[in-house]
């Protein structure tokens, strides 16, 4: 379909959920109400980063007035769980492996009594040395977080290497060593990033009931109800049909609400007590037990030719995986497929290792692995250009990936709009590579970014009502406005006004399987399925209209509640009439759609940050920020713009202030007082340009866009800082103290030389 034909796709209609959210009616995880009394659950979590659990005594807690149930590992099947590698007991039974590891749970009539009961549970620990750094964890004499690693069952993605390395992946093309040997110049540098927490505004919250028919209902704030259901069923040891997961409104996820949290504890406590149990994490618990972005140690080596080409590169990446192989292990597998960035390098090898440490379980956070590798790649682009005396923009253009460029996994990259995206950012910002300075200690910095968006198996059902309106039934969580975009997609496909389309996210008992809302693929996958379902509906209507219109289905079209013969607008039949006929003959008109996995396709972005550096304190102020984003087709432009700006804000946090820090395995910043996410006063307006060029796949040519905008931010800011004060900081976050130290070191170096 041509872009100009679109009537509803491309409009910024208000989000379908907006009124409930603006009036306080939307029910988030903690807001779910059930009739009758409910219990408050609390989790006893390990205070130690690494210890053997020798004994747990819950007797005193059970006797406390108001306590209705206590749960430990003894209440669950003795199985190891995990989506990549089965390496976790839901309740610690042998060891605890990070501060916050789940040991026991209590349900009581009030939060305060539950908290008091936790203090009455006696646990005897034998302390073990803790690993807080993956480099230390790779030493041959390092203590083992999982001594049985090599006996664990591998489910997907993870490829254990042994020691503390729970996953290893390496892909290559050409011969990087030969490339370095022939290169005109070779550069090498290490880049380090810290764990970054998603810091969604809503902490994890769930409510579970054990029902009289021996089933469980779990209400939870999750990005994916089916993944959650499967995890809960696995840990409880029951078939999946006996667990119903209802996704609540979700107060932000960004990848942090995929892994199961306290749902199984709530379900177990409900089974034992006979009452619904709600468990809400405190903010400190959420920081302690969340699934942050992994910290990376990246050694990047690049060979360049005299004519500005990157001829060879190796990237050795070590991921701080935390205590269990969660999303970081999956990322470890995926990294070599996209670490090349927006470029094409003939001799390339990317090796990634996910390493256990005694820290929170690293998992997915918006563009997992993207900002970390991009920080190395785009910092190097500028560092190399500066050293070689090249125009960094020309250097980039010379090495951009072409259409159909195969990634390291051999998948051709299609709809490569990188050049257009770069040009759009240059245009809105007025960037001039020869003039990046903006005055004393002020400058701008550029970085390109990309994220390869795949697709996940997803199905949907489209039900036609008697009056011609339509309901789309999905099991997808409306995380980023997807139900609004789906409304537009279905309305467009059926040529209905948006008021006649309702999209509802239902529970796991009611909806077909849907992928989690993550990885920027939600609309791409579900939208594709919805378009298919609409095609099926149309096909059913057209076949019924053959008799009325005396035409073949392939000559028909839908418009204004009628089926028409193309080119003969007078030959029509009302959709309502066809629906009634279908109902009488063979029941309701229902379309179904589904997709399998898509291959990964790139979405690009280009960012330009203008900064001011206080060279005496090291404090960086963002003066201006410009971002362009390759979107394919913007189904709902305002939603797209919101995604870009929000992604930039999270990237700014990663660049300048965010990082989970640990001292001897103890988390140091488990609240917003010390984990600094950007406030309204930390950000300038983010000037955003959507670059539209329909993609070869995705509904109406829409690309996935949620992840990319956080990718190039740290590099763009680091490059701006370099241009402002001549200091290249190679670790994140670039907080004032770190930058001040670097500026001082440079001055002292100059003074002594």
């Amino acid at each position: 379909m041509e872009a100009q034909d679109l009537k509803i796709v491309g409009r910024s209609i208000p989000r379908v959920d907006v009124t409930s959210k603006l009036t306080g009616q939307a029910l988030f995880g903690e807001d779910v109400k059930l009739p009758g009394p409910l219990l408050h659950g609390k989790i006893l979590r390990s205070p130690h980063p690494h210890a053997i659990v020798k004994r747990i005594d819950t007797a005193a807690a059970e006797k406390l007035a108001g306590v209705k149930a206590v749960a430990t590992a003894a209440d669950l099947p003795d199985v190891r769980i995990g989506k990549n590698l089965k390496d976790e007991h839901y309740f610690a039974s042998d060891k605890v492996r990070f501060v916050g590891d789940r040991v026991a749970a209590v349900a009581a009539v009030s939060r305060e009594i539950a908290e008091e009961a936790l203090r009455l549970i006696e646990v005897e620990y034998e302390l073990l040395p803790a690993l807080t750094n993956p480099i230390d964890a790779m030493r041959p004499d390092a203590p083992l977080v999982h001594p049985d690693l090599m006996n664990y069952q591998v489910v997907a993605a993870a490829q254990p290497e042994g020691g503390n390395v729970c996953s290893l992946n390496s892909l290559s093309r050409g011969d990087p060593e030969a490339g370095f040997a022939e290169a005109h110049q070779v550069f090498e540098q290490q880049y380090i990033t810290e764990m970054q927490h998603q810091a969604y505004m809503e902490p994890h919250a769930c409510l579970a009931t054990y029902n009289p028919d021996n089933t469980y209902t779990v209400y939870t704030s999750t990005q994916g109800i089916f993944g959650m259901r499967n995890s809960v069923a696995e840990a409880l040891g029951v078939p999946q049909n006996r667990v119903k997961v209802v996704g609540t409104e979700i107060g932000g996820g960004f990848g942090g609400k995929i892994v199961m949290k306290d749902e199984v504890a709530a379900a177990t406590l409900s089974r034992k007590s006979g009452l619904p149990v709600r468990i809400v994490m405190t903010r400190a618990e959420d920081f302690m037990c969340g699934n942050p972005r992994a910290g990376f140690y990246i050694t990047i080596k690049t060979g360049v030719s005299k004519d500005m080409r990157m001829v060879a590169r190796t990237m050795e990446i070590v991921l701080d995986g935390g205590a269990h192989a969660m999303g970081a292990a999956l990322m470890c597998w995926a990294l070599p497929q996209f670490a090349e960035g927006p470029y094409s390098i003939p001799n390339l090898r990317v090796t990634s290792r996910c390493v256990y440490t005694n820290k929170a379980n690293s998992s997915a956070f918006r563009a997992p692995g993207g900002p970390q590798t991009n920080f190395a790649v785009e910092s190097e682009t500028e560092r190399i250009a500066t050293a070689m005396g090249w125009d960094a923009l020309a250097f980039r253009r010379k090495n951009l990936m072409p259409e159909d460029h195969p990634n390291l996994a051999g998948t051709p990259m299609r709809s490569v709009n990188v050049e257009e995206t770069l040009d759009a950012a240059l245009e809105i910002s007025g960037y001039d590579p020869a003039q990046t300075g903006l005055g004393p200690n002020r400058a701008r910095g550029l970085a390109l970014g990309n994220w390869n968006v795949g697709g996940m198996p997803t199905g949907t059902v489209l039900k036609m009502n008697d009056d011609g309106s339509a309901n789309l039934i999905t099991g997808v969580v409306d995380l980023t406005g997807v139900n609004t975009s789906l409304t537009q997609v279905v309305a467009e496909a059926l040529q209905l006004p948006v008021e006649k389309v309702t999209v509802k996210s239902l529970d796991t008992d009611s909806a077909p399987h849907a992928a989690q809302s993550a990885g920027s693929q939600t609309l791409k996958s579900m939208g594709t399925a919805a378009v298919q379902a609409a095609q099926e509906v149309k096909q059913q209507l057209f076949e019924l209209a053959v008799e009325e219109l005396d035409a073949t289905p392939d000559n028909m079209e839908l418009a204004e509640g009628e089926v028409r013969v193309q080119g003969s607008p007078e030959r029509t039949v009302a959709v309502r009439k066809l629906l009634a006929k279908h109902m009488a003959n063979s029941g309701p008109v229902v379309g179904k759609g589904g997709t399998g996995a898509f291959s990964r396709m790139p979405s690009f972005c280009a960012h330009i940050a203008d900064v001011d550096v206080d060279s005496e304190t090291g404090r960086v102020t963002l003066l201006r920020y410009c971002a362009s984003q390759d979107v394919g087709v913007a189904i709902n432009p305002v939603i797209c713009i919101g995604q870009v700006q929000g992604g930039v804000a999270q990237g700014v946090g990663m660049a300048l202030s965010e990082g989970l820090t640990y001292q001897d395995g103890q988390p140091q910043n488990t609240g917003f007082l010390d984990y600094k996410i950007p406030s309204a006063l930390d950000l300038p307006m983010i000037e955003t340009k959507l670059v539209e060029k329909p993609a070869v796949e995705g509904p109406f040519g829409a690309k996935g866009i949620g992840e990319p905008p956080c990718v190039p931010v740290p590099a763009a800011i680091a490059n701006a800082i370099y241009n402002a004060v001549g200091v290249r900081v190679t670790s994140l976050p670039i907080n004032p103290e770190k930058l001040r130290r670097a500026i001082k070191a440079k001055k002292e170096g100059q003074a002594s030389s």
């Binding site: 304190t617 300048l656 820090t661 140091q668 010390d674 950007p678 406030s679 006063l681 103290e737």
Partner: protein, 294 residues
């Protein structure tokens, strides 16, 4: 949080009597922004909470007859922020009050609570110390006043005696030709100070320093005075060399420690930078003030 008994007396006498019944187990409640967290997270054993917000003697911002201001202990940060008289005379205090948390916190947090909480990083305390504020404490025995500099003995430790309550803060008038300024360094906009500094200076007719005092926050167990500043600056112009001396004195006064927010080394370094900036800006304001008179 442990449960407790709550009282909201309408008179000072009643509040003091309640405190005297069980001094150790009783806490006064002002804005509550620190106390609530202390009771929730630090598990402070509080049996009785005496809410002071209904006591009129503890409120109000008034100019004193001989110059200077009286600020009731329950004065909100937001009230200081919005007070034109204070803004004209004590911009250092107003600027500091304006960065204590976000607006909802400033509508609740009180000056007296902030002082009594005795955090070395309390933003409003630094300008008060530089400005030479006096405190008035009250007990069943009567009132006594003491210099702010004598009030803190360590983090979360103040000089109130059993049964005593902080009633008000008295700010002396700035000397003729005086001005003050506040500087703060944080990791991001909404943050606790990594270091803060305030300076109060006055200039003589030649434009040289006549007096100078400065204070530093978050670089020691309590908010600290920069000793020797007045003597070093008196009669001197505001030259780069003199500012360098301010930096050295501030660095010498600082007693920082390493913590999760910053290293001791960085804090000492920044104490020097911020003290210098505060003195320089106060001096500029004083100069502008003099200029206005002409």
């Amino acid at each position: 949080m442990q449960n407790f008994t709550y009282h909201a007396p309408a008179s000072l006498a009643e509040a003091l009597a309640l405190k005297n019944e069980d001094d150790a187990g009783t806490r006064f409640l002002a804005g509550g922004t620190d106390l609530f967290l202390a009771m929730e997270f630090a598990g402070e054993p509080v049996k009785t909470v005496v809410d002071l917000k209904k006591i009129p003697e503890l409120t109000g911002i008034e100019e004193l007859p001989g110059g200077g201001y009286r600020l009731g202990a329950l004065t909100l940060m937001g009230q200081i922020e919005a007070h034109q008289g204070l803004r004209a005379q004590y911009p250092a205090l107003v600027d500091a009050a304006t960065v204590v948390g976000g607006p909802p916190i400033r509508n609740r947090a009180t000056l007296g609570g902030n002082i009594c909480n005795a955090s070395p990083a309390a933003d409003a305390s630094t300008p008060l110390l530089a400005l030479g504020a006096e405190l008035v404490a009250v007990s069943a025995e009567g009132e006594r006043s003491l210099p702010l500099g004598d009030f803190w003995s360590g983090p979360r430790q103040n000089a109130l005696k059993p049964g005593e309550l902080l009633k008000e803060v008295r700010l002396p008038a700035l000397p003729e030709g005086g001005a003050c300024a506040f500087e703060r360094l944080t990791r991001s906009a909404m943050d606790i100070a990594v270091v803060n500094a305030a300076a109060a200076v006055s200039l003589d007719d030649a434009g040289n320093f006549a007096s100078a005092q400065a204070a530093l926050g978050a670089v020691g167990p309590v908010v600290l005075t920069v000793d020797g500043l007045g003597d070093a600056l008196r009669g001197q112009p505001c030259s780069p060399e003199i500012l360098e001396q301010v930096r050295k004195l501030a660095e010498a006064a600082a007693q920082p420690i390493d913590d999760k927010r910053a290293s001791a080394e960085y804090r000492r370094d920044m104490a020097g930078v911020l003290a210098m900036r505060a003195v320089e800006r106060a001096q500029l304001l004083a100069r502008q003030g003099k200029g206005d008179e002409k």
